[in-house]
Symmetry: none
Subunit: 257 residues, 2 copies
DNA sequence: CCTGATCTTCCACATCGTGGAAAACTTCTA
DNA sequence: TAGAAGTTTTCCACGATGTGGAAGATCAGG
């Protein structure tokens, strides 16, 4: 095998998909075999495998093979993800400029928040957790913003499954405290991490909704506590929420119902 | 081997592609392994094979796997399969020139309309949603034009499954409103998006039929509401419908029956 | 520093992918 | 229309390649 670590038969099937894609009007088995350098019987078996999974289609009338609908459905997922981040970036920049602090985009995964995009503050001294950084949901502004949209029983289940992981002396340590915090978050329309994950850092976050009415992520501002005093949280929270709502609208999203 | 004549490793790779596509925010190796029931080392090797061919991509910062660009490129070929875009482009250009507005071609996918081709207005200020852009079916002229060809029970099922996602205060918010709008669409022969997706934008759309009698897509004109007042909708609608009918004929298509 | 979780690499082995041959089918030509 | 040529599909012996458990590496948390 020349290509290190690749599965030859998968490689060949993908070559066939690409060959198919290059033929607007479809292609015949022997033409595809010639193009990919595969024997006709191998080509046939790989094509029928792709066909059974909907990635290829056969038109018996014209004896032509075409790309199948499933390949389209899978490929569209690429634009969905790319367009989410691309759509969010100008809003993150705007939020960064409004606040002069670092703006983040995060998503939930398995009880944690992952920062998937970030626009850094221009200040020399600034709050940075690198993209890819993770935080337990209930220690994180973004996590709390997302979870606050959930029904209470789902929040209970999350805490039961993942526990609470107090990182500082400000962190939430009981289910009662969690629900009190969620109640505040819902009332305000934005969430606060008040030195609950990293001492000396505060974070304000608001949820972003997908077109399907799912809380797909959250955006936030993270700042040194010295630069974002408690008295400044409401104004900052309003800004974050406003930009999050705009991002939601720009994506054709909305809360459910 | 349970599936007759299929290549197991290709089958597995395709399962991984589908699993990836179902995760908007990307997925980690162990989650994908769990979902597909494959051992982590097998999952890893198949993913890296997909990655080397561009069908998957890895974000090391978040240790997440995503669908790759090549999957999109291959998937788009599905629409081309019917010589759809190629055939439609001259008609879109004609429609653009007739109307002096941006002309679009869209298809339905999973409760949304995806714009797969576009010919932009030559005006300096014009209505643009980029190709690849998505909109909920019932907020979109093109979506409504296509769905209006469906039987009522299929429309009910679509709404039941995907809900209505009002984006503006003009959007449809009830099943009754949906059916009233569908009734109008059928009577007129064209559909209207009257600032239902984007404030300040109107869209007029008409369905395109495939040779097999399927409502395969729709073409539309999107314009700033200021440039397309309500009084102008009937004339514009007639133009869009006429060009859509010509495209249908050029493709050897026709409505069923 | 230790522990546990996750990810990556390795390799012996047997499963499964293979491709040539044969059979079946379709199209073309005289 | 029959035969030839081309295309597609099926079959199966065999060895190439895919495999998954184990080991190693890395990372995160206490």
């Amino acid at each position: 095998m020349e290509k290190l670590g690749t599965v030859q038969s998968v490689d060949r099937a993908l070559s066939l998909l690409e060959a198919l894609a290059s033929h607007t009007g479809g292609a015949r088995l022997t033409a595809l075999a010639r193009e990919t350098g595969l024997p006709p019987s191998t080509t046939h078996r790989l094509l029928t495998t792709l066909e059974q999974r909907g990635f290829a289609q056969f038109d018996p009338a014209a004896t032509r093979w075409h790309i199948g609908r499933k390949a389209f459905a899978v490929g569209v997922a690429f634009t969905r993800w790319q367009s989410f981040i691309a759509a969010a970036l100008p809003f993150l920049r705007r939020l960064r400029d409004l606040s002069r602090e670092t703006a983040n985009l995060g998503v939930l995964e398995d009880g944690e928040v992952i920062t998937v995009a970030q626009v850094e503050s221009r200040e020399i001294i600034r709050a940075i957790a690198p993209p890819g950084g993770r935080a337990p949901v209930m220690n994180s502004g973004m996590g709390k913003a997302i979870v606050a949209t959930w029904p209470d029983h789902a929040i209970d289940a999350l805490v039961a499954r993942h526990g609470l992981r107090p990182a500082t002396r400000h962190s939430l340590t009981s289910l009662e405290a969690v629900h009190a915090e969620i109640g505040l978050t819902r009332a305000r329309g934005y969430a606060v991490d008040d030195e609950e994950f990293t001492p000396g850092m505060r974070c304000v976050a608001a949820v972003v909704w997908s077109p399907t009415g799912d809380p797909v992520g959250a955006i936030s501002i993270s700042a040194l506590a010295a630069r974002l005093p408690v008295e400044g949280l409401p104004a900052m929270g309003a800004s974050v929420r406003e930009v999050a709502d705009e991002l939601t609208r720009a994506m054709g999203g909305a809360p459910p119902g």
